[in-house]
Amino acid sequence: MSNPKKPHVTVMRSQLSRARGLGSGQAGVGHWWAERASAVALVPLSGWFVIQVFRLAGASQPEVAKWGARPFNTTMMLSLVILTFYHTQLGLQVIIDDYVHGKAHLPAGLLMKGIVFLLGLFGAVSVLKLALAGSSRSTIAAG
């Protein structure tokens, strides 16, 4: 420390070593493709859902429950919920990759994935409840 004005250099690694870094992570193409494929799949699913919401507008609770108990509607709703939250998780991961660096990166991604997973599961359970509860109630009523 002969010259106090001279700043201490902490990185003397060559620029090429920094550019090469730890090499290729051999990942990325799967995430990139899943993002696009799920986005395309959500276009018809979301369109179908919007139309159903308009059709059911003003309907009574039993009518909606009856609608939700049809296997076709359950299939479409589950697809919509699963793909929406899967796509959400993929997209939020991109934002975290862009803006959260260093040690916070991994926990931020895990926290986000956990929250999105629980929200998605809640949606799926709700759809299933609508689908299965209706039939069980009718069974009880019949019994």
């Binding site: 550019a19 990325g28 990139w32 990759d97 862009d98 803006y99 660096h101």
Partner: protein, 260 residues
């Protein structure tokens, strides 16, 4: 986290004003970023009132006039003054471009000139491009072939194979594209940036190169390649009219193609 504000020692202050000679009729203000490593002060923006009747048509003509006749301390890179060397890449009126190819009359009002964004500054309009050059070096931008060339001639390509390289060989490595890219700003230490990825695809697409697979392996990384979010600033800003975003898209397509 990403820094959304400039560090304290990078906030830009007001600088000096160099007034035009009395009687100058066709005056335009050039507001130019100034910073020197030789003193401890923050960067400033100096204003130069320039008589356009006395200089050539391009922004570079104004800079050379300032350097020669007004303020010799102004520092910038320039060489060929015809858009082939890439030295005078800078941010002019909010857009990365080459000063030698940018006509002054295309810009309304004052002309703000800054160095290429988000790179370390060496002095005034001179950015430190060492990291970007090292990234270019890291993708091995040269022909790699295991088959020996014919002893008596060059390696041959068909007309169609040669046409594959159009839109890529023209790149002059000015790094206007990379430094216009938000992904490169936030993750420039790992994301290779559009200039380097265009160069990478130039060799992947070359029919004489025999290492396309190795090249794709080296790029298959969440950040090196996939930090590209198809923002397309690169294509918008390229002073040579090239399309780095398309080249990046082709690399992604090839990586997908070889999975199935």
């Amino acid at each position: 986290m990403v820094e959304f504000r400039l560090p304290k020692n990078s906030t830009v202050g007001k600088g000096r004003i160099f007034t035009a000679a009395p009687g100058a009729s066709n005056v335009k203000n050039f507001r130019i970023y100034r910073w020197s490593p030789d003193d401890d002060s923050n960067p400033v923006v100096d204003t130069y009132e320039i008589d356009l009747d006395k200089i050539g048509p391009m922004v570079l003509d104004a800079l050379i006039h300032i350097k020669n006749d007004v303020d010799s301390t102004l520092t910038f890179r320039r060489s060929c003054r015809e858009g082939i060397c890439g030295s005078c890449a800078m941010n002019i009126a909010g857009e990365n471009t080459l000063a030698c190819l940018k006509p002054i009359r295309d810009i309304e009002g004052d002309i703000a000139i800054y160095p290429l964004p988000h790179m370390p500054v060496i002095k005034d309009l001179v950015p430190d491009l060492d990291g970007a050059y090292a990234q270019l070096r890291s993708i091995d931008p040269w022909l790699k072939s295991d088959t020996a060339p014919p002893p008596d001639s060059e390696r041959r390509q068909s007309i169609e194979e040669r046409a594959e390289l159009d839109g890529m060989w023209e790149c002059i490595l000015c790094f206007c594209c990379s430094t216009s890219c938000p992904s490169y700003w936030w993750n420039g230490d790992r994301y290779l940036g559009p200039a380097t990825l265009l160069a990478a695809y130039r060799w992947i697409a070359d029919s004489r190169d025999e290492h396309a697979g190795d090249r794709l392996d080296a790029l298959e990384d969440p950040l090196k390649l996939y930090a590209c979010r198809t923002i397309m600033n690169c294509t918008q800003t390229c002073p040579k009219g090239l399309n780095p975003a398309k080249a990046i898209g082709r690399i992604k397509e090839l990586q997908l193609e070889r999975k199935a």
